[in-house]
Symmetry: C2
Subunit: 335 residues, 2 copies
DNA sequence: ATGAAAGCGCTAACAG
DNA sequence: CTGTTAGCGCTTTCAT
């Protein structure tokens, strides 16, 4: 059978309270007793039950992480950085992939509550405001990463998506491109809207007319990016550059170009977003707007921890600046 | 405050036992009472505490997943497939990245026990036999994926690594290559050894002399693969083909080739292992030995579930056959 | 069909 | 410094 605090107490000839105290380093215990208890715990290979201690109101030392898709390198990298920081802070991650499905999101949030996680980190997209509000109302620490929930007072860390879109477009403009297509993610995501807005702003600023036909909405997959790009590239007056709102889409766009016999960057420039490992690996290397993933991971965890410690600070939004990483998928427009 | 079973009982004017019974669909409850209780649970937005119910001996509906690195696409894909199947079966994943560090592995295993997971899936490499044996002794369901622990009676699903290595080498041999280098993973991993053994076997069978200098051990990173390949490619009589024991290493090898001005596949053929998304994305497309990741994920979960249901079947090893996916990184050797 | 009560393993007063 | 005891929220006999 499982060895419990009672077993330890019995063998060490003390009360369970004493054992509890040495486990938690609370109260005051004589050196001698402590060592005896410690030894017995060792001998019996005793592992205090987190479940039991949680029931008395202590932490579970696990936090939930909701992301759209673990198999998507961007989110896998986010998850890893959150995990690392979490490990330092002493907790584990319960990870759930939602596929950006609001039903799954609600289901998982509810599940996390039932499992008494100490907090929840949200990277998944469409979470309904009410679901999040419920968490807040129930005092469950929440922090958001790589997504914005502007209406709610929630701790969040994200990049300036507007600036990112602006940087991408400006880069292409500075290379002389004038017809710049966009392969956007699901526009229900605020971050997507912002990226497109940044793009638009750059164009306006440069005095380039905006052609709404040049913006195509896609899903989150390479295949989706490919299809959207295919449409754009078969337009009568095809764009000479494409801004894809994430690296996966950008790769799909590169595929589309290849199919149509367009060379990158000679015939078509492409810029992505995220700077995942994929951007580094495709050929030609993908010029992309980098999110500081590791840093973002650290920061959400830190925000969450503050919250878990009950500090009643007002919610903060940490907005990091993205950075353009130039590789070889962009070049001057042909004159 | 949190709403408990007592609150529900009070409002519904029944005992907590009755509420418990409607929650768990046990005992027999009149239609009328059931509906009343259900309604109250709804109204109060009551969520039964998994922690409390676990303390009474029921499942936590969470299983631990130990992998080397969540940011590694192969393991991220494994994790996702395990998660999906787990979701169907009603449980969540607690995911831990171990970096193949035995200390972390033990630490995490111990932690999972403290947290009363219902079972553990191991994909991490070096887990000491004693750690696993402890789990088995304590009747904790364990299943292994993509790794072999041959000494122990543990449920496992893995590909035939030997066959995979053999396929990779045979493919290169059939293209006329005779000097075939190997970029191996950490040889403490049985799977690595097997892949190399398969390679050796293919060479022997083909009557090609084996040159141990052609096998370089690396870590799990692109950079490691690059370095190892660089050494191999600078050998006086350099290999015309490379077998890299995973896709990441293969990509490193491709980088090395590029640095040395070698064209792939004209000057150098490269084959990888795993068939992650990376193999599809690099240019040229990487010929690689595919592991049926999704299928593997399903199968471990199913094995684990059998175990959790207490079926005292002897441990099974499901060995799947890998499959060579030919892309454009391999070509006939120059004559 | 329903309820009373004894735990599950641990924590936290409180008493001594 | 150490022990007694009352919960934490739920499950499960066992009565009724």
């Amino acid at each position: 059978m499982k060895v419990t605090i009672y077993d330890v107490a019995k063998v060490a000839k003390v009360s369970i309270a004493t054992v509890s105290k040495v486990i938690n380093q609370t109260g005051s215990i004589s050196e001698k007793t402590r060592n005896r208890v410690l030894k017995v715990m060792e001998d019996l290979n005793y592992k205090p039950s987190v479940v039991a201690s949680a029931l008395t109101g202590k932490r579970t030392n696990t936090v939930g992480l909701l992301i759209p898709d673990l198999a998507n390198p961007f989110f896998a990298e986010i998850a890893r950085s959150v995990e690392d920081r979490g490990h330092e802070a002493g907790f584990n991650l319960m990870i759930c992939s939602t596929d950006n499905d609001p039903d799954k999101e609600s289901e998982y949030i509810s599940l996390m509550r039932r499992k008494s996680v100490d907090g929840i980190i949200l990277a998944s997209g469409l979470i309904s405001d009410t679901a999040v509000k419920q968490l807040i109302d129930h005092q469950i620490p929440v922090a958001v990463i790589a997504r914005d929930l502007p209406v709610l007072a929630v701790n969040a860390v994200l990049v300036d998506d507007f600036a990112g879109g602006y940087m991408a477009a400006s880069h292409l403009l500075s290379l002389g491109h004038r017809r710049i297509g966009v392969v956007a993610e699901d526009l229900r995501l605020l971050s997507s809207q912002e990226r497109v807005r940044g793009y638009r702003h750059a164009l306006e600023e440069a005095g380039v007319a905006i052609d709404d036909g040049l913006v195509r909405v896609s899903d989150f997959t390479i295949e989706g990016g490919r299809r959207a790009a295919l449409e754009l590239l078969q337009l009568p007056d095809r764009p000479t550059a494409l801004f894809a709102c994430n690296d996966l889409l950008a790769i799909g766009a590169m595929r589309a170009a290849k199919e149509l016999g367009l060379a990158i960057p000679e015939d078509l420039s492409v810029v992505g977003f995220d700077n995942t490992i994929l951007a580094e690996i495709v050929d030609p290397g993908l010029t992309t707007v980098a999110q500081p993933i590791v840093n973002m991971g650290r920061q959400v965890v830190d925000l969450l921890i503050e919250e878990m410690q009950g500090e009643e600070k007002p919610a903060r939004r940490v907005v990091l600046l993205p950075r353009l990483v130039e590789r070889n998928s962009t070049a001057p427009a042909r004159s």
